[in-house]
Amino acid sequence: MTNRTGKLIEGATGKWEVVIGLEVHAQVLSKAKLFSGAATAFGAAPNAQVSLVDAAMPGMLPVINEFCVEQAIRTGLGLNAKINLVSVFDRKNYFYPDLPAGYQISQYKQPIVGEGVVLVDMPNGETIEVGIERLHLEQDAGKSSHDMHPSLSFVDLNRSGIALMEIVSRPDLRSGEEAAAYLKKLRTILRYLGTCDGNMDEGSMRADVNVSVRKPGAEYGTRCEIKNVNSMRFVQIAAEYEARRQIDLIEGGGKVEQETRLFDSRTGETRTMRSKEEAHDYRYFPDPDLLPLEFEQALIDRIKASLPELPDARKQRYVSQFGLSPYDAGVLVSDAETAAYYEEVAKGRDPKIAANWVTGDLFAMLNRLNLSITQSPVSAANLGALIDLIADNTISGRIAKDVFQIMVETRDAPGAIVEARGLRQVTDTSAIEAAIDAVIAANPDKVAEVAAKPKMAGWFVGQVMQKTGGKANPAVVNQLLAKKLNLPG
């Protein structure tokens, strides 16, 4: 791993390096649960999506959902990881009200997916390589609500038994920003693959953030695990807060205790869990209700053949085929919907111009209105049509910006807007010539100036555009001005 010294944090005793690894729990997109036929949909009535198996009634047995297995393999392939032909389900034993069996079926020593790698582009142009240690399948737990009764917690098992993929990264992240960017990239990959919807609001993706600090070059420090952080921003805030806390603690003569901490999103702080747990002893052993999960290479090959183009490959293609900058390409592939939108706009058009419009005006507008690309008032077809109007000189680039605004407000097609509002560009040289002549006649002093300072020509262009209501074709204006003012062409 490269030593990314730029990320170091200043402390009272010198610079510190923060070391972060993420354990991401991603809910597998499937209709039914991992070991039962109950539904996985979000927001059902309490305990409605619970089978006898999910409630761990006496004598109930798990049977694995084959699609969840395929989703895990698909994800593993998307993470460039080794898929294990034999994996084993273990029981992780602990008592908790939302864990009905008293154990979670998980994979401990032999996960379905082994080592992989994820490339993460940072805004400064740097690409970091984050190692994936493993991915395993496990059951989700239910949900306890503590605010519905003065003295009781209420337990809803609708989530109990839903398939999760736990994706464990190596401690390769060196800042809260990197951690958030990694999580974002991971989410992008899962959404491309269709293996997780990535809806962090609904809990379908959560991260446990492992943070430690050390002096550069030193051994890893003692780490703390911040449980269940549920947004990218919170991952960054939690990691930054925790790193600072640990540095201050050590520099104040204290010692970091290995512990599980909670993140309070209101204060941006992490705190020790109040329920003091005894040292975990999960007593893992292979689940005797299940056999080892074995499959053939042919299954992996079949899934591999069905994989979509993934963000890294697509970005590469945008750079090589479309000539986009790596940064723009990275932004455009960051989610599958944006990439699809862009490709529709770019189809049969100049890909760079298309990219400028999408990453420029379109993104700014969506940002301002707080909309996702799928909710955009300007469809990809309409944006494409707008670009066409510029390309065929129907309107100028400047007018196009105005048309775009009208498109946002009216959702109308650009052609109709241009016609209805008479925004068609003037390319008629005589009309433009007349405007130029009028400007020259009215400003003899400026004409004299421009002979000495050819850069003054811009002023004339502006005047002419104003006179024509912005509709004059700028190329024609430039060309005629040069001639009339005897400027070097």
């Binding site: 009634m57 006496p58 047995l61 798990p62 008592f95 009905p100 154990y103 002893d281 007593r283």
Partner: protein, 491 residues
Amino acid sequence: MSDLATLTLAGARDALRRKKISSRELTTSFIKEVEGARGLNAFVTETPELALDMATRADARLSRGEAGILEGVPLGIKDLFCTKGVKTTAGSKILGNFVPTYESTVTRQMFDAGAVMLGKLNMDEFAMGSSNETSAWGPVISPWRRKGSNTPLVPGGSSGGSAAAVSARLCLGATGTDTGGSIRQPAAVAGITGIKPTYGRCSRWGIVAFASSLDQAGPMAHTVRDCAIMLQAMSGHDPKDSTSAPIAVPDFEAAIGKGVKGMRVGIPKEYRLDGMPSEIEALWAQGIAWMKDAGAEVIDVSLPHTKYALPAYYIVAPAEASSNLARYDGVRYGLRVNGDDVIDLYEKSRAAGFGREVQRRILIGTYVLSAGYYDAYYLRAQKIRTLIARDFEQAFEKCDMLLTPTSPSPAFGIGEKTDDPISMYLNDVFTVTVNLAGLPGISVPAGVNNEGLPLGLQLIGRAFDEATLFRAGQVIEDAAAFKARPDSWWK
């Protein structure tokens, strides 16, 4: 009216089909027997109304000529099988009021085949025991007594209620479950027949789990044929149990009567224990002679890892049990003792709900799985299981079945062994190897000791070859002509 004292399940089935008797009549008679035998404590829940209702429906099907395999036959169900709408306790206070909303696959199949349920049978708590003394509902008293003695004896366990009910003729057959010998050992000491089929033959869905990798349901009845008929209905692949074998079920009853001529019977020398009672020794020798007389070739084989089976079992079974029993926490069902917080609630509910032997096994199981001990105990025991299974595979290269005693001793007195867990565990010394290797084993009554108490012989077969056990079991049954019956002192 048939004579209940000699009626077999096969006999009843035939009489029902020939309309010589109705299921209602038969069921009514058995309900009376059950009510008259409450002193044995074999049934924990009697379901006479349900039984009569089932019998009525069976009679209707019989009259339409739509008889299933067990049509109209009154049976008892071990209280480990979840029965829809009928209290299922697993012999434990922690499930003292548990009424399942679902039917176990095995009982559903039996009821679909026409069986009539007389009630739920007492058992060791969570099937952990060899004498039925760990039941929260009190011990089952064996119908058998030593000659000239009134000392109450155990019926064996954990399917002690099943063994006592069949042997006291309170039902024509009963379901049992066998994790380390819990069908075969009580069958042997109660003078009846019982078979633990191959692991995966019967679905475990809806049977309260003790040790998942060892548990198997099976029938207990008067004769080999009765067991074959019952197992036919109980067996088959279940898509709800991942360990249920997708293997066709042969016609077990059809195997009976084919004899053992030309078959090879292995005698494992390691089962000849030091200090084994001479009556057991003699019984075994008798069994060997019967096999030879029937034309089988008897050969010596070796199962070198036999002595490690019982200790390995007492790691694996408690380990799995400690995890399987974690669900009994007082939250969703079962006994709840309120506490200051949730942990307190768990600890109090479980302490109050589980009996002493169950707690002991939970602690042992928790300990052997805990950090730092897993390799030394659980992993080692699972490796020894591999060796034990390999022993059997090698033996079955040389023979078609193995013949051994079922139990190292006849029934003992209630309270005689409760203070020494290990001496209690030793009751399973001949049966437990079979569970560890997942093989089928049948116990057939073969004689009585000098006190008049029954003794059984065990046949062990290749995986999914129960048919051979029925064939050979019938040979022993015929040769032994076991006619001993307990005096009906409880009536």
